[in-house]
């Protein structure tokens, strides 16, 4: 292990900093999330539409932040950062996606309809028939 005698401030990772980019992504993501918040607060459209729209907005904001804040690019300095992030993304999707898929099915097959009443009330109410929802 040897030190490079160079000035650490000249290191390319330090030189990546870009004040204008940071301001840009600040304004952009604040505005987009603000719009999303407003739409949700007003319940401006059908739940599914809102759901898809907010998901899409989150995606756009995150990509913008990835590029401008985290400098995800394929230059000499950032190549391996970007590659490792790209390798992680399928794993995030597998973890969250497959879990949700499995448990969506499991709930349908094994859970009886919930009682919305408080537990004490439910206990005293005896045992109402709870038809399962299964295939």
């Amino acid at each position: 292990m040897t030190h490079s005698a160079d000035n650490p401030l000249e290191h390319p990772e330090v030189q990546l900093a870009d004040g204008r980019g940071y301001l840009l992504v600040y304004l952009f993501s604040s505005a987009l999330l603000g719009a999303a918040t407003w739409l949700v607060a007003k319940q401006a459209m059908a739940p599914l539409g809102l759901f898809l729209l907010t998901t899409a907005l989150a995606g756009v904001v995150v990509v913008a932040q990835g590029v401008f804040l985290l400098h995800m690019e394929f230059s000499e300095t950032q190549r391996w950062h970007t590659v490792s992030l790209v390798l992680f993304i399928p794993l995030f999707i597998l973890t969250i996606g497959l879990s949700s898929w499995m448990f969506h099915g499991l709930y349908r097959r094994t859970m009886l309809t919930p009682r919305t009443a408080a537990p004490a009330a439910a206990a005293s109410a005896g045992a109402p028939a709870m038809p399962g929802m299964d295939r």
């Binding site: 290191h11 900093a17 999330l33 949700v40 879990s99």
Partner: protein
């Protein structure tokens, strides 16, 4: 394809040692390792989000408060702004670092700390109000994961604030030494990553929580 890449190389001419080896790039290695750590932390978030996906079914409310009773999107947007501003301030600290201006770095760090602390205060108030209403993690599976996700993110912000404090002291002591510089770059990765994670928390936990 040849058996090995060796056949085109003449052994008489080939270099066997790198006599002028300067060693590897310390700052690059350190930031890459830290980036790997950040990704593994992102995996923790992914697992928490997977749990959130599993535990946000109506079954998991156990007759307790529904997301709509717990979440105030406008308030959470205020938290978002505080965090983003803190991130911006840290970005300016990095821009100052690039130009070698210690004053600018310290100013940016202080700004980031102020807004980071504001974010923490807002989150604390938000959760504190819920506790005051008797809405606690022990009430249901959904609330357990809701509080865990939000508090885990807030914990990162607290650690970041402590780290900034330490960085300020080290900056004052050592100036722009190699150690101080790579730690500032790592802290920047850490801090900016929290903004990315917060986008997910904000959209998937807060906003989409009130849609349903």
């Amino acid at each position: 394809m040849s058996a090995s890449a060796s056949e085109t190389i003449d052994p008489a001419q080939a270099p066997l040692w790198d006599r002028n080896h300067h060693g590897h790039d310390v700052i690059g290695t350190r930031t890459f390792g830290f980036w790997l750590y950040m990704l593994s932390d992102a995996m923790i978030y992914a697992a928490l989000f997977a749990s959130f996906g599993v535990l946000s079914h109506v079954m998991n409310m156990a007759g307790g408060p529904m997301p709509g009773d717990v979440i105030r999107p406008g308030y959470a947007y205020g938290e978002t702004l505080a965090l983003f501003t803190s991130v911006l301030a840290y970005g300016y600290a990095m821009a100052a670092l690039r130009r070698g201006r210690a004053g600018g770095v310290a100013g940016g760090l202080l700004g980031a700390m102020v807004f980071g602390a504001a974010f923490l205060g807002l989150v604390g108030k938000d959760l504190g109000d819920l506790f005051a209403l008797g809405i606690t993690p022990e009430r249901s599976g959904y609330l357990s994961i809701f509080f865990t996700l939000v508090i885990y993110h807030a914990l990162h912000i607290a650690v970041g604030l402590l780290w900034m404090l330490v960085s300020l002291v080290q900056l004052a002591r050592e100036g722009f030494s190699s150690n101080v510089v790579y730690r500032l770059v790592n802290l920047k990765l850490f801090w900016h990553f929290q903004a990315v994670v917060w986008v997910f928390v904000f959209v998937f936990v807060y906003l989409q929580g009130v849609i349903a």
